[in-house]
């Protein structure tokens, strides 16, 4: 008969490995969200010459919507101002911000000249937050560091922040949007976002 001490040790070992395996699985799942999104970007770039801006927008739309938590991102970029908005204003802001996010990807990722992405490392920062460190590899230039922060939304991992060469997209947008909201109000911010979408589509 197995001594009780061995049974306890085996149980502890089982629990420990289960936790480690679960953590590894979680980082792998989160990493796949990022690599899936980057594959969609490369696909849009490779088809750059053949597609119009509108076609690239439609191509990237599901990839962005399924990999980013745009509702949460919108709430964070307007910070405390969010609470002052009506439900209709919140919906309009999320819609406009989401359109702008997809439009900016469609605008900037429009041609291919040998670029690729590589995942360097993944790390669980805290329960519900995973950090994926990647590089955009440019054939004739220094690699560009691109880091993703993913948070759990239900059972899925979603991107909520991207840091490019040390510049946080979320922090940048929050500084800008809060400044515009405080200085000029909601309607001006919305109008500015529309102008940007229009510029990207030209």
């Amino acid at each position: 008969m197995m001594p009780i001490r061995n049974v306890i040790m085996m149980f502890v070992l089982f629990c420990f490995t289960s936790v480690v395996i679960a953590e590894v699985d979680e980082t792998e799942v989160a990493s796949k969200v990022v690599t899936g999104f980057q594959a969609a970007l490369l696909n849009a770039m490779e088809q750059g010459d053949k597609l119009t801006f509108e076609q690239r927008f439609e191509l990237l739309k599901p990839a962005v919507l399924n990999s980013h938590d745009l509702t949460k991102i919108t709430r964070i970029v307007v910070s405390k101002e969010w609470k002052k908005l009506t439900i209709e204003q919140k919906k309009e802001l999320i819609r406009k911000f989401s359109t702008l996010s997809i439009a900016s990807y469609a605008h900037y990722f429009d041609s291919y000249s040998g670029q690729s992405f590589k995942v360097e490392s993944t790390k669980q920062l805290s329960p519900g937050q995973i950090y994926v460190h990647t590089f955009l590899v440019l054939p004739d230039d220094k690699d560009v560091s691109m880091d993703y922060l993913l948070k759990k939304k239900g059972d899925e991992w979603r991107i909520i922040n991207i840091i490019t060469n040390g510049v946080s997209d979320l922090a940048l947008k929050r500084s800008e949007y809060v400044a515009v909201l405080k200085k000029s109000g909601f309607d001006v911010l919305l109008a500015e976002l529309s102008v940007k979408i229009e510029k990207f589509s030209q």
């Binding site: 969010w82 919140k90 359109t99 946080s168 922090a171 800008e176």
Partner: protein, 260 residues
């Protein structure tokens, strides 16, 4: 000497802007002071001045420069001036105690100067010797000098209290400052031409270009100073666990149609 004229111009522009800001002092006083940018009022004025100068002077000149010089010659010019900055980089590497980068940067300078026709061809990059960017402002940061407030300097653009002595020391230690004026003009055109894409990006993407410039400049400098080690900290923004959890179940995006 063109640098002397340039500095005189900056001083005059600075005085002009200070006077302009002083005349609107009452309005500034009435406005709420931004703790992240204590000099926002005057900074915004100088930013506006720099933007106008760029639109009406620098940008057209750079347009001519890019029209006259084919791409491969512009690359050679950029390589030449980047190579002239390498001794400064080596010195700052050493001052920061970075032995390996100091060796690599010295190697880059020797190889590019001897084998790359005085730096016109970046042979060292073909040999995969890594390029680093170091300046005296980064050295001051490594030595523990606090960043201080954000500033926008006439003509030169964004910096901080710590960046001002850095700019002076870097200008004084740059070999370009002691060359004939046409080379100094070429250096200015090359610098502005290299910044073309970034400035275009700000124009296209920024909702408030002044705030965009400030936030991105401060983060990017921090990234340079910490050699990228700040990334895993700044990715966790304050307020990331926002106080809106009551609405977590309400996904407002679900019933929204996203279209152009």
């Amino acid at each position: 000497m063109i640098i002397r004229l340039f500095l005189r111009f900056i001083a005059i522009a600075g005085i002009f802007l200070l006077v302009a800001c002083a005349s609107t002092g009452k309005t500034e006083m009435a406005e709420e002071v931004n703790p992240e940018d204590l000099h926002e009022g005057i900074n915004r004025n100088i930013y506006g001045f720099n933007k106008g100068l760029d639109t009406y002077v620098s940008s057209p000149l750079v347009g001519v420069y890019q029209f006259i010089l084919p791409s491969f010659l512009r690359t050679s010019v950029a390589n030449f001036f980047a190579n002239l900055k390498e001794p400064r980089t080596v010195v700052n590497d050493a001052l920061q105690g970075k032995e390996q980068p100091a060796g690599e940067d010295f190697e880059r300078f020797v190889i590019n100067t001897l084998l790359g026709f005085g730096g016109l061809i970046d042979v060292a990059s073909y040999a995969e010797i890594e390029y680093h960017e170091e300046d005296f402002s980064q050295t001051l940061a490594v030595w523990g000098v606090p960043q201080g407030e954000y500033l926008v300097v006439p003509v030169l653009g964004p910096t901080t209290y710590r960046g001002v002595p850095g700019l002076v020391v870097d200008a004084a230690s740059s070999p370009v400052s002691y060359l004939i004026w046409p080379i100094q003009v070429l250096d200015l055109l090359n610098s502005r031409s290299n910044a073309d894409q970034s400035l275009k990006f700000i124009d296209e993407a920024a909702v408030d270009p002044y705030v965009f410039m400030r936030a991105s400049y401060l983060q990017w400098r921090d990234y340079q100073i910490t050699e990228g080690k700040n990334t895993s900290e700044i990715i966790l923004l304050d307020g990331l666990d926002d106080p809106f959890d009551d609405e977590d179940d309400l996904d407002l995006l679900d019933d929204l149609e996203i279209k152009l």
